[in-house]
Symmetry: C2
Subunit: 504 residues, 2 copies
């Protein structure tokens, strides 16, 4: 038995990886089962291993407690069965706060208790663009304000997305057309000519994908992995149930140990003509059952919502442009609401891809003050069709710096999150307010331009006010502290916010 434990000391929420040499003959993807049990004292966690090609099998595990862990493999292949050992889980390195989970009903936290305030962006097909552009995307992300990136596993067939990827998740048997065709997507048809060996995976594809997930992890960015999507010319949107399920288990086995993983069952699931509601329920359950770390799980709509009340949905991943509804969705589902797609800053034809920077930034603030989180994207016409929303590259718009400012404000807000609060802003004013009662209030005035606003802070409490110009990125402290019923002077221009912090 050849077992390599590359990682005798593993940081908490890092990746322990076991490499085993086994059989390359036959079809190990179908024939070989391998799992391992990881134990910390009496707690046992079972995880799936996976075949990585050329006779190599791997098991990955993310320990969540510091101390000594034992493990033992199980396999229907003798060469892989019964491998045992231990490793030590040590303190996390700087910048490692653990995986993100839901907390406080509507919000998120890292496992170590650090609040996670989602400021997302979208580069659906960025890992299919080749190293040069992918490295540029990473360089952009390094100084961008985003801490979550939505990205597809499968390549993307869509407007502005006609380039063939270098790799596919499955071995390619024959190649077909690369021409963009919208009718095809609506009908859920694959192009003729393409065929793949769906009984096997291409390890090189997944090794590349993992590298990019790790790159994001190093940047402190959550990878919101989209498992299925309808933008397909290769047939990946119309695989049979057995293939879908094996694909899910393989992806989870490979990726779940990365602490920055989020699972999105699909993008625009309701456009996928070959899937039923029962399919989506099953996918959720497979991911939930195979993934021991309970990374966030969601599903993203085009038109119709999936029933987000189902227990395997951790949070809502919404496509809608009316951010004021966020508050309603929070109340309906009692889960965090992430409006991952509210329109993209850009100038392309479709209305979802040409909102102004002002509007993009406005939607972040509006979603936030209604208790949710929002996602960004950019869709500017480009001579080589390099649109951030799909391929990454560089940011060309004007919203990103404002979202950096927004994120600083957000991270300076209460750890418990911003919950909608009534009665502090005068009902008469008609504006939304969020915060933590008796501690912090954020009011946002959007496209309105009040010169003043009436507030009612709780009796006997005193607050320090700051007027925020969300577009101009300024914070103007108010000279007088705010008590009881007060008329607060604002700046009489659009896109203002007011923060009130309790003076203790």
């Amino acid at each position: 038995m050849t077992v390599t434990n590359r990682t005798a000391n593993v940081e908490q929420w890092g990746i322990f990886e076991l490499e085993l040499q086994g059989r390359a003959e036959g079809n190990p993807y179908l024939d070989v089962e391998i799992t391992a049990q990881f134990a910390y004292n009496h707690r046992i966690v079972e995880v799936d291993g996976f075949y990585d090609g050329e006779g190599v099998y791997r098991i990955r595990f993310m320990p969540d407690v510091q101390g000594t862990w034992r493990y033992r493999t199980r396999s229907n292949l003798d060469a892989l069965n019964g491998a045992e050992g231990t490793f030590t889980c040590v303190a996390p390195a700087s910048g490692n706060y653990g995986p993100v989970r839901v907390c406080n009903t509507y919000h998120f936290t890292y496992a170590d208790g650090t609040p996670y305030k989602q400021v997302g962006t979208t580069c659906y097909a960025w890992t299919h663009q080749g190293d040069e552009l992918e490295e540029q995307t990473l360089a952009t992300l390094r100084s961008a304000p985003f801490n979550k990136l939505r990205m597809c596993i499968f390549p993307k067939h869509y407007l502005f997305n006609e380039n063939e990827p270098a790799l596919y998740p499955f071995p390619c048997l024959s190649r077909g057309s690369s021409t963009w065709n919208f009718g095809q997507i609506l009908k859920g048809e694959a192009s003729r000519g393409w065929s793949f060996d769906l009984g096997r995976f291409d390890p090189a594809f997944f090794q590349h994908l993992e590298r990019r997930v790790a790159d994001l992890m190093a940047l402190g960015i959550e990878a919101d992995i989209i498992l299925f999507h309808p933008y397909d010319r290769w047939g990946f949107a119309a695989m049979d149930a057995e293939t879908d399920d094996r694909f899910l288990r393989y992806v989870v086995a490979r990726l779940a140990a990365y602490r920055n993983i989020w699972w999105s069952m699909a993008n625009e699931y309701d456009l996928m003509k070959h899937k039923t509601k029962a399919d989506w329920d099953r996918y959720f359950r497979i991911v939930q059952e195979r993934n021991p770390y309970q990374h966030p799980r969601s599903i993203h709509n085009c038109f119709a919502f999936y029933d987000h009340a189902k227990p395997w949905v951790t949070h809502l991943s919404i496509q809608r442009s009316d951010l004021a509804q966020t508050r309603i969705w929070c109340e309906q589902y009692r889960k965090p609401v992430v409006v991952d797609e509210c329109g993209y800053e850009g100038n392309i034809q479709p209305s979802w891809g040409n909102i102004s920077a002002e509007e993009m930034v406005h939607r972040f603030w509006e979603g936030t003050v209604n208790g949710g989180y929002v996602g960004h994207g950019e869709t500017f016409l480009h001579p080589q069709d390099i649109l951030w929303w799909a391929k990454g590259g560089v940011l060309r718009g004007q919203s990103a710096p404002r979202l950096a400012f927004f994120r600083r404000i957000l991270e300076d807000s209460p750890a418990a999150g911003l919950d909608p609060i009534d009665g502090v802003l005068s009902l008469w004013s008609g504006f939304p307010c969020a915060g933590q009662h008796h501690d912090y209030y954020l009011a946002y005035f959007g496209r309105h331009q009040p010169e003043q606003v009436m507030v009612h802070v709780p009796e006997g409490e005193k607050y320090r006010g700051e007027v925020i110009d969300t577009w101009g990125m300024t914070v103007t402290p108010l000279e007088e502290s705010i008590m009881d019923d007060a008329v607060v002077q604002l700046q009489g221009k659009p896109y203002q916010a007011l923060i009130m912090r309790r003076i203790y």
Copy 2:
């Protein structure tokens, strides 16, 4: 019998007025009935007269056909009964197109067939401000882009509206407090101290009101007369049914002959705690039955809509800020939709009174491209509380010049009106389009900033394109004509529109 026919020759849709001397003793408002029948050939129109104080009774009539009209009065007072005569109705003077009526389901026309494209504004209490300010308001309106003004008969008790009017519709018996009190409005309570002789009217009040209606008529502005409203400290919002009905008949008798009259049963009818649904139905029927000219009739909501499907409602008068809904309301009610209140440009506290100029203008275009008409208002803080929306004065905002530009575009659009049209703008684009099929299309891109848009004009037809900057007020003709499926180049900035006119 003393009968004065001041107007032997009356222009079509002008006012014929008969003045009769009668009894001043007793209470003529309650005791004396006077009507007249006006006949053109075999057609007979019956109208109510009214007592104008000091023994003077008047009958007003708006003839709608040129030629000889006969009349004969009827009264329970001998001195007023049986007065007969004729007058000649002559061609209308320049600028007199007759009263406005509904045409083509969703639109309006003047009686002479000239299209009426509503561009409204709001000065609720402008006739209660004294001559100096009222004259200033008229001077402002002379060069403003508005062709309809919403105005209340009753004085207004509200935020920024504490000044006492010089006159009341009823003789004042005792005076009370003038202090603004919002709770009072919510409860529908009048201030203590005020009392009026509700069995009589004050002719001076109505003479003043009529003069202002005539001033608007001279400026080509429709007077959208609000019959009841809840902003009351005098008790006018809580009169009994008999008084309400007598008030309505008196107002109709005095004002209906002015061709620029529209009737709005109420502003924010749903805030009037003392009225039932049956009351509103009855008011509508009284106005419909007593007014022979069938001026437009509507009722304006705060929150809940009245059932605009009822037959006496000629058009919807809506308060809502989401103008995209206009299309839905059109389809639901199959009547013209006027969003009279979508928010006001300004900087006061309440969210309805502090939208930006950009937003105000945007709402006009959005309502229009969804098949409706929109209203303007301004609410800028002022040291003497002179806010345009209530008191008139001068316009301080930046939307009015853009609405003048908008009105020129609208008046240059098809006489039949702008109806929502699907399929000309690519579905893919997601933008609304309105016009007259095979002749004229208007697309509006709002806060979006597309660089180009795909259109599908009917086969074999050719169109001339113009890109409109609705904020910058420019019209840029496109060099190439538009045929079949075409990608039209836009300017990649917010608040653009595209007009396509058929080339025959």
